[in-house]
Symmetry: C2
Subunit: 333 residues, 2 copies
């Protein structure tokens, strides 16, 4: 059921089989599998998963390619709740390993917040990442275009950039190097913007020049365009540069601070997992963008199936098979 400040006390004595942190594609898919394995689960969702921002989900099998990410999420939540899964809007602040269970402390409500603690045998970390956007004075100007023709994921939207005049908005030199030559697979008409945030080495300047990619180091004052369609940028010096599309490559924020106390094995910024998405803690799973791998909706959804299935296997292994009582042989007394 949908939990809220009013009814969540009904669940404070419960020990869930699994609490899923994050109600994006991975978390919802995990929840659907868990409930269908007849396990009890709670999804805690802070809202606005990365896929929520995608105006068109172009590469998810089964949905028309103009389906907004939020439609996938709505359908998934409805699906999960039709299976009697519990869902709570809130932010997980801390997870404490109590041995047999985890205590999961959640902040509920932006105002007059309360901090209930839920208990669970297994934990699925599905809280994902969110992209750093270009830091302009007026962020509404960025939100106007982000997820439309100002993209954050080349795998998702490179196809839409094909042979278009594209701005690459980078947060550091390494981001330029990592992205620009891959982006050129889709379009060679790339202008690189540093927004004045960092210096560019002579070596990289030379490489960009050799490929004909202009480098713009003047800070950006605003994106130009209308109706969510970005048509260029205006710089601090009032000059403008026309663009047809853009890719923001300023890194990501990982929503994983609540896991810090568990000392899970990391690979760089990602959680290390086995092929069933189990972390170095046997009762903690990580799925979707938090783990090592490709940050794609369909892969997060598959991860949810894997983690849910492995938790079922674990729990089943400790349970005796059920018997058909009426058919049991009569034992002589």
């Amino acid at each position: 059921m949908q939990l809220s400040k009013k009814n969540l006390h009904e669940r404070l004595d419960k020990i869930y089989d699994a609490i899923v942190i994050g109600g994006g594609a991975g978390g919802l898919s995990a929840g659907i599998y868990l409930q269908r394995y007849r396990l009890s689960s709670l999804i805690v969702d802070k809202g606005k998963a990365r896929s929520f921002w995608m105006q068109e989900l172009h590469n998810y099998l089964g949905l028309p390619p103009d389906t907004p990410g939020r439609v996938l999420l709505q359908q998934g939540k409805q699906h999960y709740q039709s299976l009697d899964g519990d869902f709570l809007n809130g932010v997980v602040e801390e997870v404490v390993d109590e041995g047999e269970t985890f205590a999961v402390r959640v902040k509920v409500g932006r105002q007059n917040s309360i901090y209930p603690i839920f208990r669970t045998k297994y934990l699925i970390a599905a809280s994902g990442i969110i992209d750093h956007l270009l830091p302009l004075d007026d962020m509404r100007n960025v939100y106007e275009y982000a997820g439309y023709n100002l993209h954050v994921c080349m795998v998702c939207d490179g196809y839409e950039m094909t042979d278009k005049k594209c701005g690459l908005f980078a947060g550091k030199e390494a981001s330029i190097e990592n992205m620009v030559f891959t982006l050129s697979w889709f379009t060679p008409y790339i202008t690189v913007f540093t927004h004045g945030l960092f210096e560019v080495s002579d070596r990289l300047r030379q490489k960009l020049r050799e490929h004909g990619y202009p480098l713009v180091e003047t800070p950006i004052s605003q994106f130009l365009g209308e109706k969510h369609h970005m048509t260029g940028v205006e710089l601090a010096d009032r000059s403008t540069i026309p663009l047809e599309t853009g890719l923001i490559a300023m890194g990501s924020r990982y929503h994983n601070t609540y896991l810090k106390g568990l000392n899970l094995e990391m690979k760089g910024e990602n959680l290390a997992t086995d092929k069933m998405c189990r972390t170095s803690h046997p009762r903690v799973f990580a799925i979707g963008d938090l783990k090592v791998g490709l940050n794609q909706v369909v892969i997060a959804a598959g991860d949810g199936a894997l983690a849910g299935t492995q938790i079922w296997r674990d729990i089943r292994a400790t349970s005796a098979p059920r018997v058909w009582e009426e058919n049991l042989p009569v034992v002589a007394g």
Copy 2:
């Protein structure tokens, strides 16, 4: 485009970046990713993927849980073709490794068949498995219920069997042992049928008896029911046993004979793959049910994304970045 006997000659001189064998969930997802990476691909589909038979796809994120498998496949095919992918109805008979390319021989047409050979740099084996069904004299009687309330996949449909009177139709003793106690997670009201196909050991008989699961060894003459709703079985001795659902566990046929000549590394009946679904041959990928792992639609779809992405990375690594010609520095002549 849709290839057929009439137009396929237009593609016989082409070298595809990838040929995908199988137009099920995995193959279509791979095709969508490949086309969006601006690679050329051909899907060869023999028709009737395993998911085609599922009347309701209960656990695929993003689709209402009463969506038939064939609707997912139709949507996926339409999606793939909207990206200009080539699609051919046919059966791959043989794959020959020619060094830089593979030659893929396809049987096209059930009558007056022709056997064109297509060429490709990479191969994605996505041809999956199909379940052996109960071998009755009148197989139409089995097809009447299979995929409705006579299931073949416990992970997919165990939830629907919850606390129902369930027939477990096994093909050998090991299938009973592997399935019956797991099935009891969903329902303890299990009747085990051997259809007279094999002997059951005293040890297993005793275990079934201890759990109250009747064992029926008389061959089945037909399923009873109407309008795709199975209500029981009639045995060869004319007695009937009422049931509310059923699970067929008679093993699977792997659609992989065309790969035999490539001597790929196997794990049991499955192809061994790395985390990007690459087999022991660097230019052959295996996705979905052919590889080791959970046989689920959403996982096959994720596999397609992985294999498509790795092929893109491979091909990209051998290509120079594109340059913005107009912006190149003028070289003194």
